[in-house]
Symmetry: C2
Subunit: 276 residues, 2 copies
């Protein structure tokens, strides 16, 4: 019985179809006959933005029916920055040590995580072996605070990208999704959808990504043009900055003391890309 | 201390700015000085698609800092169709009777809700007084099963729009977000973002919607063109249909017995639009 947790299985079932696929589509990666589940750990923390997590979770879940961990210091409910709680399934201690994807969301609670020793130690440890080290929104500031973006090109929510990322040794890039080696960072909140499709294509091929996109009917049609400061204009931008001011101010304070030697703790040469 | 649950408050603080706003933007609704919180109830149920809920919740939460209810038969965790649990904050019994927005998500668990007497009774009751009766994805099939879309133009996930909605007395429309009277239905999953911005504009004016869009950095840039069957092509569409087949088959079965007199239960003349 098919469902959306089994997009991978559906890909197998479609092998015969793929064999008869029109040649113009052959550039898309073909699924191998046996595809191991992808091991994913997504960090949850108080004050995260739920959409940062739930967009990618929904699009990647088909790759990891039983191997997607929602990880927090302890198992149980975690309150988001809009008052919605997600349930952490796995504690730091019980999270698998070998991961294909380590993921960090952003949110109003970012600065507290940038200062949280247990979180930073968890991220450093898993990142040292993970195939992909990833974030959405201000999650990149938490990766940066763990020393994991030093020397890497990276993005973040527009409110913090150019001001806070450099304090953490990262090179800010104004793009929706930025790949640099095995680091993948995305812009604010809704960029998680674009990120997850791009990552899914690297993990399992473009056909998986396109299938997940169609299941999610991701043919966006925003009723307004206000998704970037340039599009929104100065008045709306000023209003959004007022909402995000505490987040940015606190993140900047949290980043300021993180200079060498702290950054040096996670300071290894960028690993070569391990993408397929 | 500003945060993203207080976009409404930020709108107040920006009143002076708005007074000095360039004239070309004056078509946007100005916020009134006192804006009551919006009363929102979002249904949760086993097998819902979490993103259907979390996208709109994130964008609308600023309108309803203490008046947004995540409603289920009982309070506590509710498992989504991709294995992520959200926590219901309010039971059917404790949900306020007067609502500005009644919202129903879709998901693999749709058919079970179409047959669930308690859920349908709850929806019929709250819808009879709600200012807006809304859905994302196959949530419209649940509204339809409650008799709430008879004679209305409506949309749904592409997999069920033209095949199942008519069985429920609705007139299918192939659009991202469909307003008809006080019914607002959206296409599949990710359409919830477009829906929430369109609804937010009706509830609180375009400036609120644009601010929420900028906070969420909703400037979508999908890496592929596969968000509709036409864009994805026949092979990917066939694969997605395999994933969605059980949902559609079960929803069709659940809809088949719902003919008058069942539909007649909720069959009142469409209320005049109460939008501002």
């Amino acid at each position: 019985m098919a469902n959306r947790r089994e997009i991978g299985a559906a890909a197998l079932a479609a092998a015969a179809l793929l064999a008869a696929r029109p040649s113009q589509a052959l550039d898309a990666a073909r699924p191998s006959v046996w595809m191991p589940p992808v091991r994913i750990a997504m960090l949850l923390y108080p004050g995260m933005t739920a959409l940062d997590v739930v967009g990618p979770q929904g699009l990647l879940a088909g790759l990891a029916p039983d191997t997607l961990h929602l990880v927090a210091r302890s198992v149980g409910p975690v309150l988001s920055d809009t008052g919605l709680s997600l349930i952490a399934t796995t504690s730091f201690a019980d999270c698998p040590t070998e991961l294909d994807v380590l993921f960090v969301p952003g949110g109003d609670g970012t600065a507290a995580q940038m200062r949280d020793g247990a979180t930073l130690a968890f991220l450093r440890d898993r990142a040292s072996r993970a195939r992909w080290v990833t974030s959405v929104c201000t999650g990149s500031l938490i990766l940066g605070a763990a020393g994991l973006l030093k020397g890497y090109r990276a993005t973040s929510h527009w409110c913090a990208r150019d001001t806070v990322l450099p304090l953490l040794g990262a090179i800010p890039v104004d793009d929706r999704v930025v790949f640099d080696g095995n680091r993948v960072t995305a812009a604010g909140v809704s960029a998680g959808l674009d990120f997850a499709l791009a990552l899914a294509a690297r993990l399992r091929g473009e056909d998986y990504a396109r299938t997940a996109q169609l299941v999610a009917e991701y043919a966006p049609k925003p009723p307004f043009e206000a998704g970037s400061p340039a599009a929104a204009g100065p008045i709306i931008t000023q209003r959004a900055q007022a909402i995000l001011d505490t987040l940015v101010t606190e993140a900047r304070k949290a980043a300021a003391p993180i200079q060498p030697p702290e950054l040096g703790l996670g300071d290894a040469p960028p690993p070569a890309s391990r993408e397929d």
